[in-house]
C-alpha cells in the first residue's frame, strides 16, 4: 500500500495516495515508506501520518497477575500525538487513567489490575481505551477489550462474640447465688445489715430450747449492725484514714472483669481475622485476557 501510494503520488493522484497511506497505517501504524521512496511521496506519507491517529496494541498473552504485578501493553502510534490512555467500563465510563501525554512512536502502559481507589481489583470486561488527538483537531479512539477474572482465596470466619455475663444483662435474671451489689446510702442495705446482726444475736432464742447462747455472738452481731450503719451514713467520697492510700477507682465485680478480658480477647482475635481476610482479599490473583482491538472511532471530522 505504501508503494502503491508512492506511485499514485508520482502520478499526481494525491487523494488516492492519501487513501493508500491511511489504509497502510490502519493496518500497521508503524508502516513507513522505504528509504528509496522519493521525497515527494515520503513527505505526503508523513503528512498523512500526522493527520491520522491509528494505534496498534501488543498485549501479552493470557496473563496472571499477583498482587504487585503490572499488566503491560505496548502501544504503537501512527504519529506523534497527544494521547490519553485509560481503563474504562464496557460502556465507556472511565475508571482509571493510566497515561496522559505525547506518544512519539511507541508507549508502554502498565496497570496493576486495581480500580480507581487502588484497593480492590477491577473484575469483568473492561476496555483499555487509547485516545489520540492529531494536529487537525480530530479525536481517534481505539479500545482493546480486556476480560479479567479473579481467583479469591476463602476468607476466615469471624470468631463468635462471647455472651455477656448474666449480671450485665439484667440483675433480676441472674443465677449467681452471691448477693446483689448495692450502692451506698441504700436503706435496704442498712435494713439487711441490722437484720443480719439481729439474727446473730437472736439465733439461740430461735433454735435452742433454753435460749442460751454464747455472749460472744453479741460482738459479731454488733459488728454486723455497726458495719451496716457506717456503710449507710458514710459519704461515698469520705476521706480515708490518714496515711492510707486513696482508692478512687470504683470496684468492679470479678464477673465484669472476666467478661471484659474475654471481650478484649475476642476483639483481638476479630481484628486478627479481619487483617488476615484483608490480606487474602489483597492476595487475589487476576487472569487478564486481551481481545481484538475495536476502532478507531473518529470524532471532530
Amino acid at each position: 500500500l505504501v508503494v502503491q501510494g508512492a506511485a499514485q503520488v508520482a502520478n499526481r493522484q494525491s487523494d488516492s495516495a492519501a487513501a493508500s497511506f491511511r489504509e497502510a497505517l490502519s493496518l500497521d501504524p508503524r508502516a513507513r515508506p522505504d528509504p528509496r521512496t522519493g521525497a515527494a511521496a515520503t513527505t505526503a506519507f508523513h503528512e498523512v501520518r500526522q493527520q491520522t491517529g491509528f494505534v496498534g496494541f501488543r498485549p501479552p498473552g493470557d496473563t496472571t497477575l499477583s498482587p504487585g504485578d503490572q499488566y503491560r501493553v505496548r502501544l504503537y502510534s501512527s504519529g506523534i500525538h497527544e494521547t490519553t490512555v485509560a481503563i474504562t467500563t464496557g460502556a465507556g465510563q472511565r475508571v482509571r487513567r493510566l497515561y496522559l501525554g505525547l506518544i512519539v512512536d511507541s508507549l508502554d502502559v502498565r496497570w496493576d489490575g486495581l480500580d480507581s481507589t487502588g484497593a480492590a481489583p477491577l473484575l469483568g470486561p473492561v476496555m483499555l481505551q487509547v485516545v489520540l488527538r492529531p494536529a487537525d483537531g480530530t479525536r481517534w479512539t481505539t479500545r482493546l477489550p480486556l476480560t479479567i477474572q479473579a481467583t479469591v482465596p476463602d476468607t476466615l470466619p469471624l470468631p463468635l462474640r462471647p455472651t455477656a455475663p448474666v449480671s450485665s444483662r439484667s440483675p433480676t435474671t441472674a443465677v449467681d447465688p452471691s448477693p446483689l451489689p448495692r450502692t451506698a446510702h441504700d436503706p435496704k442495705m442498712l435494713a439487711a445489715g441490722l437484720l443480719t446482726g439481729l439474727a446473730v444475736v437472736a439465733l439461740p432464742k430461735l433454735v435452742a430450747a433454753d435460749g442460751q447462747g454464747s455472749a460472744a455472738r453479741f460482738v459479731l452481731g454488733g459488728t454486723v449492725g455497726l458495719a451496716a450503719i457506717v456503710g449507710f451514713i458514710a459519704p461515698s467520697g469520705s476521706r480515708p484514714p490518714v496515711g492510707r492510700p486513696v482508692l478512687r477507682e470504683p470496684e468492679r465485680p470479678a464477673i465484669d472483669l472476666e467478661w471484659q478480658r474475654k471481650e478484649q480477647a475476642w476483639q483481638r482475635a476479630t481484628d486478627s481475622v479481619r487483617a488476615e481476610n484483608q490480606r487474602r482479599r489483597r492476595a487475589v490473583q487476576l487472569r487478564v485476557k486481551a481481545g481484538v482491538p475495536i476502532g478507531p472511532e473518529i470524532d471532530g471530522q
Binding site: A164, V175, P177, P179, A184, L203, L206, V207, D210, W259
Partner: protein, 211 residues
Amino acid sequence: MTGHRCLALWLTLAGTGPVAAQSPLRLEAGATAGIVRLRTIDGPIATRRTGVSLGGQGAVWWNRLGLEGGYLEGRLGSDGSRLERVEGYAMLGVSPVRGLVINVGPLVRALVTGAATTRWVLWNVKTRYEVGIVGRFLSGFGEAWGAVKGSSNVPETFNSARGGMAGLALAVGNGQAIVRLSYGIDESRLGAGRRRDTIETFAIGTTIRIR
C-alpha cells in the same frame, strides 16, 4: 468472755484464682476452722465441751442448680470428757433468685468418745440468703435449716433438729475469694426433749471461686 464459752479463732486458707462467672459453670472450694461448744443435756445431767474443728467445703453450680458438700472434724473437751466430732454433708441446691439458695440433703454427724460413738443422720432443708450491706465487698448472710427426717443410734427417739447461722461475708480480690465470719447454732432433740444436743459454732472460712 468466760472460759466455758466459745471464742472464734479461725485460720483461713486463702488464695485467688481466675473467675469466669459468665460461664454457667461455677466451682467453689473453701476451708473453715473454728471453735465449737457442745452442750448435751440428758435429763438432769448437763455436759459442756469446747474445742476446735477444721473442715473444708466445695460447691459446683450449673446455672441455678448446685451441689454442695463439706466435711469437718474436731476435738471437743479435754481429758476424760474428750470427744471427737466428725461431720459431713452433701446437699443439692437451687438458687431461684440471686442471693437466695435452697438446699436439700443429708448431714451425717458422729460424736466419738472413748466408750461409744453416737451417729446422726439428718435430712435437712436449708435456706440461705445473702445481701450486700456495704458496697460490693461486705455482705450479710443468714441461713436456717430444719431436719425433715432424722435418725440416731442413741436409745432415745429422735424428735427434731434445727439450726441457723448468720454473719458477715467479705469479698476480697475482686470477689475471687470470700471470707465469712459467722455464728451458728443447732440443736437436736430426742426422747421427747429429754435429751438435747446443742452445738454453737463461731466460724471463719474462705470460699474461693475456682471457675
